[in-house]
């Protein structure tokens, strides 16, 4: 066997283990299924009637989609984010229960180990993103081959980037409890301030936006990188962009590169 094929085999083994483990992790599966149901079916359908062009009889918003359609791409991002960060828990788990040593003494370079882990986590997260896609017809989102293919590609990229972020966090929080708290204090705030559940009105100027919404919230939303990611997925799935459609992919690629690099450096140091 050549060196490259041995490394590829190792990469496959590490990837396979991540996938096998999460298929057996009932808690993760339940979360992956219940989250889209709650957000799309309960919250989405519940708010759908209130999301329309009139407020107190005054026309303010003119938006060409329903609330369900609006929130749908954001729920995809949410589900990927939860699962990606959660799958990084397995790193803490490996460290806690000694399995990491088994990998560390294998004749495989560290970057292969890390890449295998990230690809495994990303695959699982992509799967959970696809669980949301099943609800597309309830949300009135039309899936065609073109936007489905683009969407899946970006979903995988996003899953990869967020798994890197998860591993970065896991390196800092070395216990389960700490990680649970962290994921809730990071994931939900990022999600809520990413223009995911309420829109920044596309028809208003920057100055007008600040009149409708408090300034601090507008600033939070604009500085949140996830805003551009959610916006990008809206562009892909419902054809609506508030920002430059390229901002999303750029954010994803930068996050993936930076956090993979940091994780690799830390991983090499043990």
């Amino acid at each position: 066997m050549t060196q490259a094929s041995i490394w590829l085999g190792a990469l496959h083994a590490i990837w396979l283990r991540e996938v096998q483990r999460s298929l057996r992790d009932r808690g993760q599966l339940i979360g992956g299924v219940s989250r889209p149901l709650l957000w799309v079916l309960i919250l989405g359908i519940g708010f759908n009637p209130y999301f329309r062009a009139e407020v107190f009889g005054q026309v303010r918003f003119a938006v060409p989609f329903t609330y369900l359609q609006f929130i749908f791409p954001a729920v995809i991002v949410l589900n990927i984010m939860y699962t990606a960060v959660q799958s990084a828990v397995s790193l803490i788990w490996d460290r806690e229960f000694g399995f990491l040593r088994e990998v560390m003494v294998a004749p495989v370079p560290r970057w292969i180990v890390l890449l295998g882990k990230v690809l495994g986590g990303a695959t699982v997260a992509l799967g959970h993103g696809c669980l949301v896609l099943i609800l597309a017809q309830f949300a009135g989102v039309q899936l065609r081959y073109a936007n489905l293919a683009t969407g899946l590609a970006y979903m995988f990229l996003l899953a990869f980037a967020l798994t890197c972020v998860g591993i970065f966090l896991a390196n800092r929080i070395r216990s389960f409890e700490g990680f649970g708290i962290f994921s809730n204090t990071v994931i939900l705030p990022l999600y809520f301030t990413s223009s995911s559940v309420f829109p920044l009105d596309p028809s208003l100027t920057g100055a007008q936006t600040r009149v409708v919404y408090p300034e601090w919230l507008v600033i939070l939303v604009q500085y949140n990188p996830l805003t551009y990611v959610v916006d990008h997925f809206r562009g892909v799935f419902i054809g609506f962009n508030q920002f430059n459609p390229w901002a999303g992919p750029i954010v994803i690629v930068i996050v993936a590169a930076v956090f993979f690099a940091i994780s690799l450096i830390e991983f090499r140091q043990g």
Binding site: M1, S5, I6, G9, A10, H12, A13, I14, L16, R17, Q20, R21, R24, D25, D94, F97, G98, F99, R101, E102, V103, M104, V105, A106, P107, V108, P109, G270
Partner: protein, 327 residues
């Protein structure tokens, strides 16, 4: 340099440790330690907690790096070419390191894959090894549900899925019942015979060390003694003669004749002597005739050799751990 030449490519089962030091903060875990492990031998590392055993094992296993000195595994320097060194090694860690959510088979398969063992060979070897350690029946069970002894056996089997030349076992039998310990040693003996493996073992159980070819007693990061178990016994341990005096007069007479004698709680008198002097001492005690109810001679144990060398009981784990707080 000479170390690397000695453990060249032609000696895949050797380990050469040359002047290795390792410091953790202000604690010197390994102090200029050197030793050579030969191909095909069973080599035991013996020492109290905090002696530096685990640190040495970690360095040989390429998990930690020495501050100075060099280690060659199968002729490969662990600092310069850790990948090649790792290929030579099969390691059973002190702490369990199986993925408890996977099955036994999946754990072994994972190991084979990341070590680049081709599929057919991998499956055949897993089959053979599971048979050897008597786990064929539970191969598709999730590891979490297995007993401690089964997990240990699975780990030993796992370490051998690839073509390891040196098997390192850090406390492989700790926490297991006598039957499981015995089983593990019988598997190890069989594999050693079949594959010509070099075995490096650390253990707290002195009776297990007795079966090894050479024993290295370490403490304070240094090698205190390195020899076969028999040689260690005769060099460092003393015989113990036990006598039961019939009356106070005899007791006092024995104490007068042997100042080193100690009175035990049960009324016995214990006298420690170097092996060659045991015969004459016994004869003199027999001279007391009926004054001595019984006499017995205890051959030295490795444990007493260990005690003499380190000044510490091997099993005084708690006390030793409290004092040192390492390992």
């Amino acid at each position: 340099m000479s170390v690397l030449l000695r453990g060249g490519e032609g000696f895949p089962g050797t380990v050469a440790v040359a002047s290795v030091s390792k410091r953790f903060g202000h604690i010197l875990a390994l102090d200029d330690l050197s030793l050579d492990i030969h191909e095909g031998e069973a080599f035991a590392l013996l020492g109290p907690n905090g002696a530096g055993k685990s640190t040495l094992i970690s360095i040989i296993a390429t998990i930690q790096q020495p501050d100075s000195g060099s280690v060659a595994v199968g002729g490969h320097d662990v600092m310069r070419s850790p990948m090649k060194a790792r290929k030579m090694l099969g390691i059973v860690f002190q702490e369990p390191s199986l993925d408890t959510r996977l099955t036994v088979q999946e754990n072994l398969d994972f190991h084979g894959r990341i070590h680049g063992v081709p599929r057919r060979q991998r499956l055949r070897r897993i089959e053979q090894l599971l048979e050897l350690v008597e786990l064929s029946e539970v191969r598709h069970k999730i590891v979490r549900g297995l007993s401690g002894g089964m997990k240990r056996r699975a780990e030993i089997a796992r370490a051998l899925v690839h073509d390891a030349k040196i098997l390192i076992l850090d406390e492989p039998t700790v926490g297991l019942d006598a039957q499981s310990r015995e089983k593990i040693w019988s598997y190890l003996d069989r594999v050693r015979g079949e594959r010509g493996l070099t075995l490096i073992v650390t253990t707290h159980y002195i009776d297990e060390v007795d079966g090894c070819d050479r024993v290295c007693i370490v403490d304070g990061g240094k090698v205190l003694a390195l020899d076969s178990p028999d040689a260690l016994r005769s060099k460092y341990a003393q015989d113990t003669i036990r006598a039961r005096p019939e009356d106070i007069a005899t007791e006092q007479a024995i104490f007068a004749a042997f100042p080193q004698a100690r009175l035990r709680r049960n009324g016995e008198i214990a006298i420690s002597v170097a092996s060659p002097e045991a015969g004459p001492v016994m004869d003199r005690l027999r001279g007391f005739g009926r004054g001595v109810r019984y006499l017995s001679l205890e051959r030295p144990s490795l444990e007493s050799a260990f005690l003499n060398l380190t000044g510490r009981e091997l099993r005084g784990e708690q006390a030793a751990a409290l004092g040192r707080g390492r390992e």
